[in-house]
């Protein structure tokens, strides 16, 4: 009993501050942009002053100018349209098949036993090395490009997906079984939603790989495309065009990552 009976806090010996919080990413929108601005600013100052030679790095302002020319001439869309198509078709094919096989591996032990070594065997193959073969198999036109991107996104998606299925909380599955849920119901209501965070973070990686492979896919016989544009700029040692192309790929990467972020927020709204 405290000396002051009027206050109610007398029962509490000691106040404890809230110890939760932290360890959760908080969105700070502008810091990412600031990092970009500072880096590009430094490059601009360096190239303007001659500290960085034109052979080492192009002036960021010249790159912007090249980009503007590309946009004005309408060539941007001529290059972007085929690339986006290749990316969409290839990545959709690879990711769908990858998620499909990944879920099957996660659910069925026979498929796991048969497929995991196979996936492990084809994962480290540099897909670029197979490009000439793909040209023979699928022809020099679009099909070989779709195939290369699909093949490249397929393996990481499979690995991420069965990993995600494996990581679904077993206690939840046991709980479903205790409540008498059917196998189908458990898969649909517990396993798939539970694996979704892992599948989506796997997709982030697979789609980045798809963008990387876009340049490789356009090495052979592509007349238009961002990858073809970058390769041509490299062959001509035109650094402004090279960087303009690379910036487009980076922007594509940022856009795709944002899109997956949005999908994550929608699909995983049950988490919060």
């Amino acid at each position: 009993m405290g000396p002051d009976p009027d206050t109610e806090e007398t029962d509490i010996a000691r106040q404890v501050a809230f110890r939760g919080g932290g360890f959760a990413p908080t969105p700070y929108r502008w810091i990412g942009l600031a990092v970009f601005v500072v880096l590009v600013g430094l490059a601009e100052i360096g190239t303007q002053s001659g500290f960085i030679s034109p052979l080492t790095l192009p002036k960021p302002s010249d790159v912007l100018l090249t980009f503007a020319e590309l946009y004005d001439s309408g060539l941007l869309w001529t290059h972007l349209a085929p690339s986006l198509t290749r990316l969409a078709v290839g990545a959709a094919l690879g990711a769908t098949l990858g998620i499909g096989l990944g879920v099957l591996i996660g659910l069925f032990s026979y498929i796991r036993a048969g497929m995991v070594p196979l996936v492990a065997a084809i994962f480290p193959i540099p897909k670029i090395a197979l490009l000439p073969l793909f040209v023979i198999w699928f022809g020099i036109d679009e099909a070989s490009k779709y195939a290369l991107i699909a093949f490249g996104t397929f393996t990481p998606t499979v690995v991420a997906t069965y990993g995600a299925v494996d990581n679904v909380d077993r206690t939840l599955i046991r709980m479903g079984q205790s409540f008498g849920m059917s196998w189908k119901s458990i898969v649909r209501k517990i396993i798939l939603p539970g694996a979704m965070p892992g599948i989506l973070s796997g997709l982030r990686i697979s789609l980045a790989i798809a963008i990387i492979l876009l340049v490789a896919a356009e090495m052979l016989g592509a007349e238009h495309g961002i990858g073809a544009y970058i390769l041509e700029a490299g062959a001509l040692y035109n650094l402004e065009r090279l960087f303009a192309g690379v910036v487009i790929l980076s922007l594509l990467g940022v856009l795709l990552s944002t899109a997956i972020g949005a999908i994550e927020r929608y699909v995983l709204r049950w988490r919060t």
Partner: protein
Amino acid sequence: MNRRKAITLIGGAAATAGLATPALSQNRKITVGALRFTSHSGSFIAFERGYFADAGLDVELKFFQAAQPMAIAIASGSIDYAVTAVSGGLISLAQKGAVKVIGGALSEEPGIDGQKILASDAAYKAGLTSPKKLDGKIFGMSTAGSSFHYMGSKIATAEGASMKFKALQKVGAIIGALKSGQIDAWSIVPHIAKPLAKSGAAHIIGNVSDYLPNYQITTVFTSARNAAEQKGMTGDFLGGFSKGVADYNAAMIARTGGKDGVDDMVRLIHKYVYADRPLEKAAPSIINGTMRLNEGAALNLTSIEDQLKWFQSETLVDADVTMDTLVDTSYVKTIRA
């Protein structure tokens, strides 16, 4: 012999030895870039027969897989001299003040077997039997702005044909595409063209020299700094290189040494080109690849000018690049043909 006579003799010998090696670049270490092609024989011969050493240069040969990285290695100062085709990339590097063309190497010459125009078997059977029928066909090239692009475009213009160009990055990929009929036509040096035609996978339908009679295919180039500041060393290099070229032309084209001369030369070149095949198998390819190397590294300015203009007209390089930016004519004899 008395003592005075002996001293005079020794002094004389020392003086002659001193004259033989230029004072400017005694045993300077330089690096020369090369591809494993017969067109680079000038460097191989000068190296093997000690012509570089005679010029006072301690040369190290460095091998590349493609011309593009070699040009960049020159620009970055990793290597000093190299031989490569004039391409959009080379012109861009010259514009950035990094490289300079200082001499000529491989060139087309009417009357000497040169680069061939090939048609794929499928296209040949469908009627592509002469360059006159190239209209609407697909022509293979490594990259936009490569020498293949230039040749194809020039042939098309001459025949009033409109062709599509397919960039396939590597010679191996182009050969694959030609064999499988994914491209219709291509132009390439004779030692690649002839075996392809022999195997039946492709057919020779014309000569590049019919369209570009004195085409300067490859040039000797160096960094702009070497060309401007290392005049002695650059002159010495070109001197040694030219001796190698003279030996090559004499043995392989004029055949002054007869069959033995050719065999000797092939054996020397085989150390560098097709070294993975036995000599008997490599020899025909090396002999098939024989084309004129410019005597004294002379440079055909008319051809270079035409190439520069073409690259500019295709907007592959900047319109304000001049011949002076690209070429330093102070080292070798220039040709107008």
